[in-house]
């Protein structure tokens, strides 16, 4: 921990952090291939609504 980091109770100590499993999934190839496809669809949907 750097010197600027708070000690004791501080909001920054309790910010939601990913679990090890979540971090694992972020680079787990089969899962990310599926997410890649889903992300593309979701982006086209969000961007497409405005274009309508």
């Amino acid at each position: 921990m750097s010197q600027q980091k708070p000690t004791g109770f501080d909001e920054r100590n309790f910010v939601p952090r990913p679990t090890r499993f979540t971090v694992f999934l972020r680079n787990f190839l089969p899962f990310q291939i599926v997410r890649f496809l889903i992300l593309n669809i979701k982006i086209l949907r969000t961007v497409g609504v405005g274009k309508k």
Partner: protein
């Protein structure tokens, strides 16, 4: 044949030029006036800044591309607009100074339709020590242009080499990244850069020898100039504050928000906070984004009288069909934002991308007790720029073809935008935060709680985002080069 003059060849100017030429064909003579000889895919500059791409990877020469497409390329810096013509010119025209060969020569180009897509002036001079005018100073680095990013990569490499020679007991090297002024925009680029610096330091095995600190004018981390966004993420609607803080805590990056950097000295950034306190942050390496202003264009009427104040806002951006009435934050409405980007004074002039004057901020403007405005300016780069250019190109082509249809609209208050923010470049170990928002400008009438559609606004971090960002790099450069079927690639 009608002549369309486009000032600037960034995302918005280049998009408008290519679509107008494609749709209007021989009915339009399209001329692009820009001081730069190269097109730059700016979103990838952050990778140049960490030595994972080269300048050649993110730029290409405009002249051959325009020649092939039948677009006239004038390499010049636009300086004066005459929307009514002058004593010597029947038609409206723009006067500029050539920056290519022969440099310094003045050039005048008449037009029927004018699209101002000049982008921003990088206003380093707004902060003492950050630079002089639009020139970057010597204390910090920038990733705003490919050349700046290349310089940043060299400086970062020096720090990494220094870290490798350090002993465990040595004081850590300090990296400071963020915004270099109280009213900066473009936090996203700096946010990507700090995450990529973290990534390359880890890859080099020296991350434990660095303290990374984020400094910005955002009220909270993750504001990004959009007034914070509620993102659908991992089964929850979470604020972009939580989303960004989570990533920084995970990566052990410190942050200072609500800070307006007001002075840079060798190794020290001075800032004022919203609480009215003054602080300073030491650094060995700093990348601070400058504030943007409009490029210094002047406008004159037929008699030669200066009408710049009628055409441009005080910050140099061009006034369009927005509601510029001074209102309090509570009175702001998404309807204040422009729809057609047409000048209210001249119906053959438009401004798109960074060049148009926004009616107000998106984030709530805050002042310190000392009266200093500390708030992020609204973002309007990247994909929104392309969408605006597309709509204006359609309007111009309708006019050229004599169609009486109303102007096409692309208001940011009814525009969805995708931002894929890199957090590390590697085919298998990389990641990016994919953030989609609808609409860009919150509409609290339609979406009372957060101002945005909760089903269309989402965020996700992972390798898939990196693949997407990398794919977009190649797709958009392919599209910008106007190769086969380029127009099938969405903006």
């Amino acid at each position: 044949m009608k002549r369309v003059l486009i000032l600037g060849a960034g995302v918005s100017g280049h998009t408008a030029a290519s679509y107008i030429k494609k749709w209007a064909g021989r009915k339009a003579e399209v001329i692009v006036m820009t001081p730069n000889s190269k097109w730059n895919w700016i979103p990838s500059n952050i990778w140049v800044g960490v030595d994972m791409m080269t300048t050649d990877d993110v730029t290409f020469d405009l002249a051959p591309v325009y020649e092939k497409a039948g677009i006239t390329f004038v390499q010049a810096l636009a300086q004066e607009v005459f929307p009514e013509g002058s004593a010597d010119h029947e038609k409206p025209f723009v006067r500029g100074m050539r920056t290519g060969d022969p440099t310094g020569e003045m050039v005048e180009v008449e037009y029927d339709y004018l699209i101002n897509a000049t982008g921003p002036k990088l206003n380093f001079g707004a902060t003492e020590g950050l630079g002089n005018g639009s020139e970057l100073g010597s204390h910090t680095v920038s990733v705003c242009t490919a050349a700046h990013a290349e310089h940043a990569a060299k400086e970062l490499k020096t720090q990494i080499e220094k870290a490798k020679q350090m002993n465990a007991a040595d004081e850590k090297l300090r990296v400071l990244i963020g915004t270099g002024n109280a009213t900066c925009t473009c936090q996203g680029a700096a946010w990507e850069y700090i995450n990529n610096v973290d990534f390359v330091l880890r890859e080099a095995g020296v991350r434990d020898r660095f303290d990374l600190t984020w400094i910005s004018n955002e009220q909270v981390l993750g504001d990004f100039g959009m007034g914070t966004v509620a993102l659908k993420s991992s089964g929850h609607y979470v604020s972009s504050k939580t989303f960004a803080e989570s990533l920084f805590v995970e990566k052990d990056i410190n942050w200072i928000t609500q800070a307006g950097v007001n002075k840079i000295e060798e190794g020290v950034a001075h800032y004022e906070t919203l609480a009215g306190e003054f602080g300073q942050e030491k650094f060995d390496f700093a990348m601070l984004i400058p504030p943007f202003s409009g490029v210094p264009l002047k406008a004159y009427d037929k008699s030669g009288a200066d009408i710049s104040d009628d055409i441009f806002a005080k910050n140099g951006f061009m006034k369009v069909d927005a509601d510029y009435t001074q209102k309090s934050y509570e009175e702001w409405s998404s309807d204040d934002w422009p729809k057609t980007y047409q000048s209210p004074k001249y119906d053959n002039m438009w401004a798109i991308g960074i060049a148009f004057a926004p009616p107000h901020f998106i984030s709530k403007p805050m002042h310190s007790p000392n009266g200093t405005l500390i708030a992020p300016a609204p973002p309007r780069t990247g994909q929104p720029s392309g969408t605006m250019a597309h709509a204006v190109a359609k309007t111009v082509v309708d006019r050229i073809k004599g169609r009486k249809s109303p102007a096409h609209e692309a208001p940011m208050s009814r525009m969805g935008a995708a931002c894929v923010a890199s957090t590390g470049k590697s085919l298998l170990k990389g990641s990016a935060a994919t953030i989609c928002v609808y609409p860009v400008v919150p509409d609290f009438k339609e979406y009372p709680q957060t101002g945005r559609d909760e089903n269309l606004t989402f965020g996700e971090i992972g390798l898939a985002g990196h693949w997407l960002k990398h794919l977009l790099h190649y797709l958009f450069i392919y599209k910008a080069k106007m190769k086969a079927f380029w127009s099938f690639i969405p903006d």
